[in-house]
Symmetry: C2
Subunit: 337 residues, 2 copies
DNA sequence: TATAATTATGGTATCGGTACCATAAACAAG
DNA sequence: CTTGTTTATGGTACCGATACCATAATTATA
């Protein structure tokens, strides 16, 4: 691979002159510029950004460490991040942890060594160690979607408790009383917050808290499937409405109900947190609290870039994006029997 | 951020000594080792891998540029790649192009500048320019899943034509004659090859090629949905079996048939190429040709790493992985009427 | 005891690009 | 014609880690 010195030799100039041509900086005569450009083309010269980064102490790269890239929610977040980043000349490195803290730790180690300028993190597990490790290196960091205990770090997230509160409230207004909540891990803050929103709505409606109405598994389709079968088999009287902790759980619920021969919304109502993948429309159309994944990514990346470029300081700000209640066809008042 | 010199100063040794401690190289007295390790811990020192890479002319990093990370097929391929890579001490950078050649070009530019040691590429579009650009820099490259015209490059892929041939043959053996094929873009080699396998099987069975039995859209769920409705509305007599060009198309087919009130396999048979996401079991269980995504990633990465470390040369080898016909419940002989 | 081998540590140069400072030619203003 | 300014180009040093070579100090061997 040719270096800037090879180009310089071929064009009969000094390396610094080639540098000026590449970066359009300083004074260059037209004749020299052309000779240099020709040499670059002939040698297929590609500048080595490692040396630039070493010199400038910045890589113009940010890392997005995410828990489950298969979920289209996160793909959309990624798009927001990429758009905000390229606006400011940053590249994004995508890292998928599969909710595995060991993988996450490993990525952080490597990325710190590679002098990544900043981190966007969807923490796997509830261990705040990674966050502290990044902060110890004074590398800017923004946490997305989830909240971690015992650390002070900027967070950009959706209004999980508020959204689930409104969704529950909507079911209550329809006349439901036995509303079951099937959520993901309580080790993940969004899981806790969504259950919390549900509980608060139930309490505010003067209903007693029935712990067996709440099931916590994983944020996966299979888990939603299992929890649905479980709760319908064990709970009598059966709930008249099911709340899903995220989109994948909602898919599992729908499939389980289909298998059990229950119709939605005739026999039972279903509502979810976060829209289904657009390429997977449900039958019937699902009433959900929709998040704004693109906006989430955009704002998180902008916040991070603000810190990197030194415009904002790294406060402990928390940006909470509103969610939207989309009433579709999966809920109706329960039969009075 | 402290450098190796800061550590050296604190430990009262030369930078090279610290380097030896970090890399467990050369001779170090126990006392010195401990003083250095303490200094490292106190300063939270993290070695700068940019400078190492600059020195060694290698980054121990390979890039995986993929067309659609939302498809669990590719997530599994990624897992194979990561496992093979970490076996050999390489890190993987994941890049999602969304089938957009401009995004792909941009990634390649940046990654070449970052001195990426090798590329695993699922080409977006049929333009071979990217491949040539990588090869011009003499950076090792392996293409995954797809085939590109006009370039000599190692490829690791599934047996698309063979798989679709066997799947078609199976339907023919069940007695089907009007078999429609709903595939993705003909600009993608896998799309072409799968259609080719289907055609060959039909011809070998002595059936005339009916062009309107083949529809080409995109490898997306919506596209499968649209094509299904279209072909059932326009074709008379209707086909008795539908073949899906990939897993997402199969999902679209199933949804469309459900909407149209057609039962599988009672009213119509369906078979697909590539399994559905495990978290999305279909009703009824789909007969498919299953690929080996993990194996695909593993082999591609090993081939690439062989090139990087100089063990293999960059031949034009093509590794074709066999596929497996999984007969489940979505196909049965057509009604005789 | 002398010599060789082993152990332990450091100085200097290098990877590739560019900031900083220096130099010199071309041109403008007084 | 001198002085000042703009334009054009280059030399040297540096970012951080480490290979290479050198130098001691210690231990083993003759």
């Amino acid at each position: 691979m040719p270096t800037i010195r090879d180009v310089a030799r071929r064009a009969g100039v000094a390396p610094i002159t080639v540098s000026r041509v590449i970066n359009n900086a300083g004074y260059i005569s037209e004749a020299t510029r052309q000779r240099v450009e020709q040499a670059i083309a002939e040698l297929h010269y590609v500048p080595n950004s490692l040396s630039r980064s070493l010199r400038f102490k910045k890589t113009d790269t940010i890392a997005f460490i995410v828990s489950d890239i298969t979920n289209p929610f996160w793909t959309t977040v990624t798009r927001g991040i990429e758009d905000a980043s390229s606006e400011h000349g940053f590249n994004v490195i995508l890292c998928n942890t599969d909710e595995n803290p060991a993988k996450q730790d490993n990525y952080v180690t490597v990325l710190l060594q590679k002098q990544t300028d900043g981190f966007l993190l969807v923490p796997a597990g509830e261990n705040a160690g990674v966050v502290q490790r990044i902060q110890k290196q004074q590398v800017p960091l923004v946490v997305i979607d989830r909240h971690l205990k015992d650390v002070t770090v900027p967070v950009v997230r959706s209004d999980s408790p508020g959204g689930m509160y409104r969704l529950t409230q909507y079911l209550l207004q329809l006349g439901h009383r036995r509303i079951a909540m099937l959520s993901g891990s309580m080790l993940i803050s969004t899981g806790r917050q969504r259950v919390e929103g549900y509980r608060r709505a139930m309490q505010d409606a003067g209903l007693p808290l029935e712990e067996h109405l709440v099931l916590c598994g994983e944020f996966k389709q299979e888990s939603g499937y299992r929890m649905t079968r479980q709760i319908l088999q064990t709970l009598h009287p059966a709930p008249t409405a099911l709340l899903a902790g995220n989109n994948f759980i909602a898919m599992g619920i729908l499939r389980a109900l289909d298998d059990l021969g229950l119709r939605v919304p005739e026999d039972i109502s279903v509502a979810g947190f976060d829209d289904l993948p657009h390429y997977l429309p449900a039958e019937p159309a699902l009433t959900v609290v929709a998040q704004q994944p693109y906006e989430l990514g955009l704002q998180a990346a902008r916040l991070l870039i603000g810190q990197i470029t030194g415009h904002h300081s790294a406060g402990q700000e928390e940006i909470v994006l509103p969610v939207e209640l989309l009433i579709r066809q999966s809920c109706r008042p329960p039969d009075e029997r």
